[in-house]
Structure formats: structure tokens, C-alpha cells
């Protein structure tokens, strides 16, 4: 595989033989294979942090905490679903936050300026999101461009279009029936109703990734896209579809953003793309592609949310939270190789670590 092939699934032939395996090794008992995974570790960590926060952070056990937590996390939760699939194929999508802003702008222009009904405008917005994804997916899947470069470009392009369309204006005054719906709770619980939307989407994505041929293709592409192609996976079409999904879900998140803040403006969702990616990686998805699972990702998103919420309640400023999340991200990827190095497997560890670095990104 030469440098120009944009996928970075596997090491070049020869060196990585027998190393870049991500299928659980059957050398150990089943309970170990199930329990000793990155995903379990993240979930465990989430439970630990949550328990700690509930017991020792003032007001964390209050009725509002989870409600706001989910409302705040919703865009990240939503976008993390397709992003997981994209990263498992070894690609990346940096343009999601810009898609959120662009679709939010479209919603605003259609509802407030053109007088459309909000429902129609929302549908158009999701379609615009899908179109943004289609453009990314076409360039990555069919033209064969590296997704990092493409989506850095569309990161600027999509937000640029949104800012250009809106100018100094902030669109506001969306129909209250809709803005209220976003904030409604499920019965008397502290869970917002939008969780149902996320739940449905999550089920769809779990089925797609973990229980379908398409999903197996996604993993195969991430492991080795040449091999995937030879085994009959339509690599280009799969990637195209994943980017379209990422765009469409970002469009949905854009509609949500618009309603949650009753607002469409050009500077919204700043840095959201990196938060999503950080959560996905924290959730155990390999940036090289080929490994990861959605339950870990959801736990990763929640972990970031719980830490931010707890630290805000403790009166910490945003920058401390930023440091903690950054360290956590680094620790979660560095610790395994560090520990295998410590455990006396120095030669194998380094060799393995390096051959697993055939493609960065």
C-alpha cells in the first residue's frame, strides 16, 4: 500500500503479520474476553466517577443534574454514533461541527426568513447535512483523498457558508411548540424526551455496526481495506454511506442545537468536532481503525459529561475540565503501551507499538 492511499487501516504487508489482529483472541476464557476490554474499563471508570460525584460533589445528586447533562451532551451523543463507524473504517470527519452550524443556519433562514413550517425546514436541514456528508464521502471514498485533509477543508467551508449566509444576524424566535418539545421530560423523571430520539438512533447504529454484514465490512475496511475489497466489500460505497450518515446526524444535531438555544448563529458549536472525537477515542475506538464498539463510545461521552458537570458544580473553571479531559484522552491511549513496556515486554512492545503506527491520524 503506498502513501497515497488514504486509508490507514493496517501496516504494509509483511511486518504486521500476526500482530494487527483485533478479533478477540480465543486463548483466554470467555469471561476474560468479555470483561477485560477497553469498553468495560471505560464503563467501570464511568461508574466510579459517577459514584464519586454523587457522593461527594454538592448538588450533583439533585434532580436537575442528569436532565442538563443529557441536554448538554445530546449533540455529542448523536454525532458520536456515526463518527464511531467513520473512525472504525480508519477515516475521520472533522467537519461535523461546521455541518451543525450550517444546518442550524439553514433551519433559521427557512423558518424565520422564508416563513416555512419548522418541520419542513428541519427535514431540509437534515438533507443539507446529508449533502455535506455526501460531498465529504465522495471525495474520500471515490476520489480517494485523505479524509483528514478533506474534512479540514470542509470544516472551513461549511462554517464559512453558514457565517456567510447569516452575517451579523442571529436567527431567533423559533416556534415555541418546537423549542418546548426539546426540553420536555419523560414523565416525571429527570430524563429529557430527546433521549428517546438518541435511543432509537443508537439501536439503529448498534444493529448496523454489530449485527449486520455492512458492519462487518466497516471493521474489515479498518483492518485492511485492500483485503476488504478482495473479500467483496464495496469500500468506496461504504465510506460514502458512512460520511452521509455522519452528515445527516450532524444535521439532526443542528436542528436540536437550534431548538435548544432558540438560536441560529455562526459561532455556535465551537470545537464540537474535537469533543466528539475525543469522546469516541476515549470510548476505546482505535484511531487506526478496525476496533471499537458503541457501548464504549456512549460510556466515553457520558464520562466526559459527568466529569464536566461535576467539576462545574465544584466551581472549577472550564480550563481545569479541559486539562482533565485532555489527560484522560492521552492516558487512555498511552497507558496500554506504557504498561506493556513496563511489564518487561520491551522489545515486543516497542516493535508492536511501532508497527501499529503505519498510519497516524
Amino acid at each position: 500500500m503506498s502513501a497515497s492511499t488514504p486509508t490507514r487501516g493496517t501496516a504494509p504487508v509483511g511486518l504486521s503479520k500476526g500482530e494487527a489482529r483485533t478479533y478477540a483472541s480465543y486463548a483466554r476464557p470467555a469471561w476474560q474476553r468479555w470483561l477485560l476490554t477497553r469498553e468495560t474499563a471505560v464503563i467501570l471508570l464511568l461508574v466510579v466517577v459517577f459514584t464519586w460525584a454523587t457522593s461527594s460533589v454538592p448538588n450533583f445528586d439533585g434532580p436537575l443534574t442528569l436532565y442538563y447533562l443529557f441536554l448538554d451532551l445530546m449533540p455529542i451523543l448523536l454525532i458520536a454514533l456515526p463518527m464511531t463507524l467513520v473512525i472504525i473504517t480508519g477515516e475521520i470527519d472533522l467537519s461535523v461541527a461546521s455541518t451543525v452550524v450550517l444546518t442550524s443556519a439553514v433551519t433559521g433562514l427557512l423558518t424565520i426568513d422564508a416563513g416555512w413550517g419548522f418541520g419542513q425546514a428541519a427535514l431540509v436541514a437534515v438533507a443539507v447535512g446529508a449533502l455535506c456528508g455526501l460531498f465529504n464521502g465522495f471525495l474520500v471514498g471515490y476520489v480517494g483523498l485523505p479524509s483528514l485533509a478533506v474534512t479540514i477543508g470542509t470544516l472551513a467551508l461549511y462554517r464559512g457558508i453558514a457565517v456567510g449566509l447569516l452575517g451579523t444576524e442571529a436567527k431567533t424566535g423559533f416556534p415555541e411548540a418546537w423549542t418546548d418539545r426539546v426540553k420536555e421530560r419523560i414523565g416525571e423523571t429527570s430524563y429529557p424526551q430527546v433521549l428517546v430520539v438518541f435511543g432509537v438512533l443508537a439501536v439503529v447504529f448498534v444493529l448496523l455496526l454489530h449485527f449486520s454484514g455492512f458492519g462487518r465490512g466497516v471493521y474489515e475496511i479498518g483492518l485492511n481495506d485492500e483485503a476488504a475489497r478482495f473479500s467483496g466489500v464495496d469500500v468506496a460505497r461504504t465510506k460514502l454511506l458512512l460520511f452521509v450518515l455522519a452528515g445527516a446526524v450532524s444535521g439532526l444535531a443542528g436542528v436540536y442545537y437550534t431548538l435548544r438555544y432558540d438560536l441560529a448563529r455562526g459561532d455556535a458549536a465551537n470545537g464540537l468536532e474535537l469533543q466528539v472525537i475525543a469522546a469516541v477515542l476515549l470510548g476505546g475506538v482505535s484511531i487506526f481503525g478496525g476496533r471499537g464498539a458503541l457501548h464504549g463510545v456512549v460510556a466515553g461521552v457520558l464520562l466526559i459529561g459527568v466529569i464536566s458537570s461535576a467539576m462545574r458544580l465544584q466551581g472549577e473553571t472550564e480550563n481545569v475540565t479541559t486539562i482533565v479531559i485532555g489527560l484522560l484522552l492521552i492516558a487512555s491511549v498511552v497507558a496500554p503501551s506504557f504498561l506493556s513496556w513496563v511489564s518487561g515486554r520491551l522489545p515486543a512492545g516497542v516493535k508492536g507499538a511501532l508497527s501499529r503506527r503505519p498510519r497516524r491520524t
Partner: protein, 340 residues
């Protein structure tokens, strides 16, 4: 084999990560978590790291100390409304006595503020208001007309009442600035028909962007006579550009700036006069207004009066507004008397 070991170590690894997180979080135990107190006044500026709000928070803290409450300052790093909402929510969760906020958007924060008020938090806006129905009081630095007219008068005086003038604003969505710019344009059109406001550019309250936009303004309008920058970040960046450019002394610059940032440029002649209210007094007054609301001395009705420590007595005006006073004009003669 090696791969197995990696897997086995994953759990240990994450435990390590957990301890990192916990120690980091645990560090906050000592100073945080004072939310149960009803006398807690939480200041939420547009963003942290902004000297203007640094000054207003200093004033707020002085006032809170004076009446014996607990002062807290929280805020986002980016001045956007979506970044402010989680902090408003947190204040509601903590049940603080009052939230004193400078809003990044007049409507987007509305729902979050309403929820905070439902939770018993008094909401006072200062510097930048939200729609009146979402807050108890607005502590205004000066009337919008007063601010707009002062700046136009200053620039008119400096350029002799005629010529091209441009505006270097903050973010394109900044509520205050947009309102002032509209009023400035109206006022200039009626009072100074020979002044032509040719363009408004947006420096996003970022040094570098404001600096580069100033350069672009001077280039795209060779006949430019004056620049008004109604934002403290913008005027300082513009002054820095002008002070080293061929236009120094030829293009007048005025607007809203803090004396500390502008002292150098007054002294080297880049700028002759600019205006601002005292942000420390603004924060001080806002804290006292919040205190009066929490104590139940006032409800925010027009005509309510309250004592604001050293500043004396204030009366709530129409729409629940309290006005600090008229802006101060700073020149090389009086700038030495101020330190903020």
C-alpha cells in the same frame, strides 16, 4: 501473545486514568462546593480572560465582601451563548442566591435563565442585557444613546466634523455593539451629515483579528479619517496598529477602551480621547443590586430604591433598568487618575 498482554493491561491502564481523573477532580474539593449558601453571588461574564470583566468582577467581589456574602466567578473561554448555558444550569443546580451575568445573546439564554429563576435564583444582567422578561434587573453602564452619542461626538470633534469613518466592532452578533452601531449611524446621519460611515468590520474581540482588520480597513479606504471601536479589545488592537503605521496622527481613533490598555497610545499621540464607564463600579453596583433582590429589599419594580455601598442610592428605572451613569471621557490629562 503480545496482544493479549495489551488487552490485559487495558483495565489497569484505565484504572490509572481513573486515578488521574479523580486526583484532578479531588483537588477542587477544598475551594469549591459552596453552592448551598443563599448569599452566594455568582458572576458569569461573557468570557474569562477579558480584562474588562476582570475589572467588573473585582468590583463585584469588593461589594460581596462588603455585605458579607460569598463571591464566585465562573465562565466559558469563548464568548458564545451556548457556552454560557451550562454555567447558568449549574447555578440553578447549586441554588445560588443570585446570578450576575453579562449575556452573549439576548434570547438564547432565556430558557436557561427562566429555569434558574424557577429554582429561586435571582438574575441580574449587567453590561449586556437579555430580553426583559428573562431577568429581574439590568444594571446598565449608561444608556445606549449616551454611549453611541459620546463616541460619535468624540470622533466628529477629532476629524473636524466631516469625512469617512469606519467602525471596528466585536463579534458580528454582539448585541451591545450592534445596538450602539445602529444608534451611532442614526445620530451621525442627523447631527453630522458630512460624516460618512463607510464600513463596519468585526474583530471578534480577538487581538489578532482586530489588528488585521484595522490594517484591512486602512487599506480599503484610503480616505479614511477616523475609526470608532466600541469594544475594549478592538480599540487597543487598532491603536497598536496605528501607532506603528504611516497613518498615525492622521486617522483618528476613538471608542470604548480601558485606561490601562490605552495609556501608552494616549501618551504617544495615536489617540486623543476615548470613553468608558468604570467597569469596577459596574460590577460593584450589579453585586449590590443582586444583594438587594436576594434580601427582598427590592423586587425590580420601577421606582424601587436600594443602597449600593460607596456608590450611594440607586433607583430602578423603566424595564427594570438601573443606570450607572454617563461614560467618562479619558484624555492624556486625566488618564493618570484611573487604574483599571
Amino acid at each position: 501473545m503480545k496482544f493479549n498482554s495489551r488487552r490485559a493491561t487495558a483495565l489497569v491502564a484505565l484504572t490509572l486514568a481513573a486515578s488521574t481523573a479523580l486526583t484532578a477532580c479531588g483537588g477542587g474539593d477544598g475551594d469549591g462546593g459552596s453552592g448551598d449558601s443563599a448569599e452566594t453571588i455568582t458572576f458569569l461574564p461573557k468570557n474569562l480572560g477579558n480584562p474588562y470583566f476582570d475589572a467588573s468582577s473585582t468590583g463585584g467581589e469588593d461589594a460581596v465582601k462588603a455585605f458579607g456574602g460569598t463571591f464566585e466567578e465562573v465562565g466559558p473561554t469563548n464568548a458564545t451563548p451556548d457556552a454560557q448555558v451550562p454555567f447558568i444550569n449549574t447555578a440553578a443546580q447549586q441554588g445560588v442566591g443570585a446570578l450576575v451575568i453579562s449575556a452573549n445573546d439576548p434570547t438564547a439564554l432565556g430558557d436557561a435563565l427562566e429555569e434558574a429563576r424557577d429554582a429561586g435564583v435571582k438574575v441580574v444582567t449587567f453590561d449586556s442585557d437579555v430580553d426583559a422578561e428573562y431577568r429581574d434587573l439590568f444594571v446598565n453602564q449608561a444608556t445606549a444613546e449616551g454611549i453611541a452619542e459620546a463616541q460619535v461626538d468624540l470622533v466628529a470633534e477629532q476629524i473636524g466634523g466631516e469625512g469617512e469613518v469606519a467602525i471596528l466592532s466585536a463579534a458580528a452578533n454582539a448585541t451591545n455593539q450592534n445596538a450602539w452601531i445602529d444608534l451611532m449611524e442614526e445620530y451621525a446621519a442627523s447631527e453630522y451629515p458630512d460624516i460618512d460611515i463607510v464600513e463596519t468590520v468585526y474583530g471578534d474581540d480577538d487581538d489578532q483579528t482586530s489588528f488585521d482588520k484595522t490594517a484591512a480597513l486602512l487599506q480599503s479606504h484610503p480616505d479614511l479619517k477616523g475609526i470608532i471601536s466600541p469594544t475594549t479589545v478592538g480599540i487597543a488592537a487598532a491603536a497598536r496598529y496605528l501607532s506603528t503605521s504611516q497613518y498615525k496622527g492622521q486617522v483618528a481613533l476613538t471608542g470604548l477602551g480601558t485606561p490601562n490598555q490605552m495609556r501608552e497610545y494616549l501618551e504617544d499621540g495615536t489617540v486623543t480621547a476615548f470613553a468608558l464607564w468604570n467597569p469596577e463600579e459596574l460590577g460593584y453596583l450589579a453585586a449590590y443590586a443582586a444583594h438587594a433582590l436576594v434580601e427582598g429589599d427590592i423586587t425590580g419594580e420601577e421606582g424601587d430604591t436600594f443602597e449600593a455601598g460607596d456608590l450611594g442610592e440607586y433607583t430602578v428605572g423603566a424595564n427594570g433598568e438601573v443606570v450607572l451613569g454617563e461614560p467618562t471621557v479619558f484624555t492624556v490629562d486625566n488618564v493618570g487618575d484611573f487604574d483599571f
